[in-house]
C-alpha cells in the first residue's frame, strides 16, 4: 500500500517519468532507482512530470541533484513539468529554477528538447 508510484513512457529519444503521490525520504529510493535505470539505458533526455505529485521533500529534490551533472555531460537534460504550485514552491525555496528548466505543460517540455541540438557544453 505505497503512497508513491512512478510510470514511464518512452517517446522516441525522450523518456517521461510521471510521479504520483508523495515523494519523501522513504519513497525517494524508488525514484532514484527509476532514474538510474533510464540512465543505464543511455537515455539522457528526461522529462519528469509532477502533475500527480502531491508532496515533495528535500529528499526528493536530492534525487534530481544526484543525476543532473552526469545527464548534462552526456548531452541530455532533466526537465521538470507540471509541478503544482505547492510543489513548485519547494523547488523555488531551494533555488532550483536557476538550475533546472520548469514547464507548465508536458508538451512544451518535450518540445524544448527538439529546439536544442546537443545542449550542454
Amino acid at each position: 500500500m505505497s503512497n508513491f508510484e512512478i510510470s514511464r513512457e518512452d517517446n522516441k529519444e525522450i523518456t517521461v517519468l510521471k510521479l504520483h503521490g508523495y515523494l519523501d525520504a522513504h519513497t525517494a529510493r524508488e525514484f532514484e532507482q527509476s532514474l538510474a535505470n533510464v540512465i543505464k539505458e543511455q537515455r539522457f533526455k528526461i522529462v519528469v512530470s509532477l502533475e500527480n505529485l502531491k508532496y515533495i521533500s528535500s529528499a526528493g529534490l536530492g534525487v534530481f541533484m544526484g543525476f543532473i551533472e552526469e545527464v548534462r555531460k552526456k548531452g541530455g537534460d532533466i526537465k521538470i513539468a507540471q509541478p503544482s504550485p505547492k510543489v513548485y514552491k519547494v523547488f523555488d525555496l531551494l533555488g532550483f529554477p536557476n538550475l533546472y528548466e520548469f514547464y507548465d505543460q508536458l508538451e512544451t517540455a518535450l518540445k524544448a528538447f527538439e529546439k536544442t541540438q546537443q545542449p550542454g557544453k
Partner: protein, 152 residues
C-alpha cells in the same frame, strides 16, 4: 493554584507522538501534524509548510541522529504545543546530536557540480517556519524547536 492569565481550551492543548525512527513513518507523521494544523485553522499553504518542516526534521533524525548508536531505541518524539498565537513543534531524538551553528546554508551550484546531495533540510526548515532553535544533549535529548505563527 491560580494561573496568571486565563487561557482558552485550545491554548493549552498538548500533543505528544513517539514512534520508531523509520522512514516509512514519515507519511504517518505528516498526516498527524497536518490534521492538527487543519483543526487549528491553518490554511492549505501553512499546512504544507508545517508538514514539510516536520518531515525534514524527522528525516534528519532517521538519517543522522542514530547513525553510530545501534544500541539505543531509535525513537522520534514529536510534541505540539498549541498557544493562542502560535504552534510550537518540537522534534526530538536521543541520538548523537550535532552543532547547528556549524551547518551552512547550501550552495546549490556547488552541490550540483559535485553531484552531492543533502544539506537542504535545515535550510528548508528555517525558510518555512517563523522561528527555529535547537537544544542539544547528545544521547539524552536533542531538540529542533519550530514555531509557526497563527493568524490572529
Amino acid at each position: 493554584m491560580p494561573r496568571k492569565t486565563k487561557t482558552t481550551k485550545k491554548s493549552r492543548a498538548l500533543y505528544r507522538l513517539n514512534l520508531p525512527a523509520h522512514s516509512e513513518n514519515l507519511h504517518v507523521i505528516r498526516k498527524f501534524v497536518s490534521e492538527i494544523a487543519s483543526n487549528l485553522g491553518f490554511d492549505e499553504e501553512a499546512m504544507y509548510q508545517i508538514e514539510l518542516a516536520v518531515d525534514e526534521a524527522c528525516t534528519n533524525v532517521i538519517k543522522h541522529a542514530y547513525r553510530n548508536d545501534q544500541q539505543s531505541e531509535k525513537i522520534i518524539k514529536i510534541t505540539l504545543k498549541v498557544k493562542e498565537d502560535r504552534l510550537i513543534i518540537i522534534v526530538a531524538d536521543k541520538g548523537c546530536g550535532f552543532n547547528p551553528a556549524a551547518i551552512k546554508s547550501p550552495d546549490m551550484e556547488k552541490y550540483i557540480k559535485k553531484g552531492k546531495r543533502g544539506g537542504l533540510g535545515l535550510h528548508l526548515i528555517k525558510s518555512l517556519m517563523d522561528e527555529v532553535s535547537f537544544r542539544m544533549k547528545p544521547g539524552v535529548r536533542n531538540e529542533v524547536i519550530m514555531v509557526k505563527k497563527r493568524k490572529g
